[in-house]
């Protein structure tokens, strides 16, 4: 049983990181049945980065994702999400943090009794925007190509469309952090690519951070960074597109040959 480190031993909060994990340990169960699933995880996710989390089944990827999504209580280590420390928070406070995160699950989990628009509106209602909720929902669904399906119930939608509704629901409040658990698992190649392209564009345009758990090799190219988790430990952390992204994004002025002649 690892001793909990006091908060003072962790690095101070940083503004540029969407997710800041330090020496995180996580256990399932309690007492004799306690099983450790995450071992000393430390991870920095800068804002605006698209990160893919891969690894074999049972490696703890989904657990890490749910922890980052404030879905579980944490005791050991430091996990800061959008500036808020989650370790030690009670249920009430965790609920509040969840409202700033968009979580895309593997299953769409839509209410059969609500239309696509209503399902998305459920998310908007959390913010209190009752007067604009329908407009926001319809706009979000349109952005994902579902403009003509807003009043359909899930039973009249295909698997791919249902997943897109779920994604609309997760994104309608423009969260700064998007967590996705196998978002393309239930989708065909085109739908999957569309979804991932949408997330990529969203991240670039709005600067939101995306952390995605996936096995799907077809979409790995969209990531800035690929993190591999094996048996609860960080195995590798590569940045396939780092070359391009490490280039300073300076504007290029009108180039003249005089610049290159002394």
């Amino acid at each position: 049983m690892v001793k909990t480190q006091p908060q003072s031993t962790f690095d101070p909060p940083r503004d540029d990181l969407a997710v800041h994990i330090q020496h995180l340990n996580y256990f399932f169960g309690a007492g004799d049945l306690s099983k450790q699933v995450l071992f000393d995880i430390s991870l920095d996710l800068p804002k605006g980065q698209i990160v893919i989390l891969t690894g074999p089944s049972g490696s703890g990827k989904t657990t890490l994702l749910t922890l980052a999504g404030a879905l579980r209580r944490l005791q050991d280590g430091s996990l800061r999400v959008l500036g808020k420390e989650l370790v030690g928070l009670g249920d009430r406070a965790l609920v509040n943090v969840r409202r700033n995160i968009g979580f895309i699950f593997q299953a769409h989990n839509l209410f059969e009794s609500l239309t696509a628009s209503q399902n998305v509106e459920m998310a908007v209602e959390l913010t209190g925007n009752f007067s604009s909720k329908q407009d926001q929902a319809v706009a979000m669904l349109s952005a994902l190509g579902l403009a003509d399906r807003v009043d359909y119930k899930p039973q009249s939608l295909s698997g791919g469309q249902k997943q897109r509704v779920a994604i609309a629901r997760a994104l309608v409040n423009h969260p700064q952090l998007i967590l996705a658990d196998e978002p393309t698992a239930a989708l065909d190649k085109k739908s999957g690519r569309d979804v991932v392209t949408y997330l990529h564009n969203l991240s670039r345009q709005e600067g939101c951070t995306v952390l995605m758990v996936t096995h799907d090799n077809r979409i790995l190219d969209v990531a800035d960074r690929i993190i591999n988790l094996v048996d609860g430990r960080l195995e590798s952390d590569s940045t396939p597109n780092a070359f391009v992204h490490s280039k300073t994004q300076e504007a290029i002025a009108e180039v003249s040959a005089d610049m290159f002649i002394m």
Binding site: F243, V244, I252, V255, S256, M259, F260, I261, M262
Partner: protein, 160 residues
Amino acid sequence: MKFTNGAQELTYGRLQDYLSGSLFKSTMRASDDQPSFDLVYQDTTLIELQVLPWDTHPYPDIEMAIVRASSCVAIGCHPELDLLRFLLDENRKIRFGSFQTDDAGTVFFANRILGGEHMDPTELEVCLLSVGAIATRYSDIIIDKFDGQRALNSALPSKL
């Protein structure tokens, strides 16, 4: 496409990534069988970008590659001696890259940078811009001064 070593392949991939997002993205063309690209600078100047493996280098444990950017400036210039003197003189003033000639008397302007793991993207971009800018400027000067012509497949006056 066959690559000689891993560094060449890595460099090729990174060049492709860079070019797809750069100001050259609409004019770039990749070769089917060779690790090289063609791109157009400011609608007028064709730049050839090649990835060359570097087999003998100072670091025995790693692989390395070289990126060469070159542009054809003029052909058929004379008198040769004056031309060569001029070119060598100008080389001294030019910050990055140098003028080169081949057996046929074609004048190029080229620059090379280190590829592979340690290639720097800003350096790559500066390399491309300098090749483009110098080739564009000096093409007219040299053709004028030394009675040359524009090279085939280069210096197309209209937009591609």
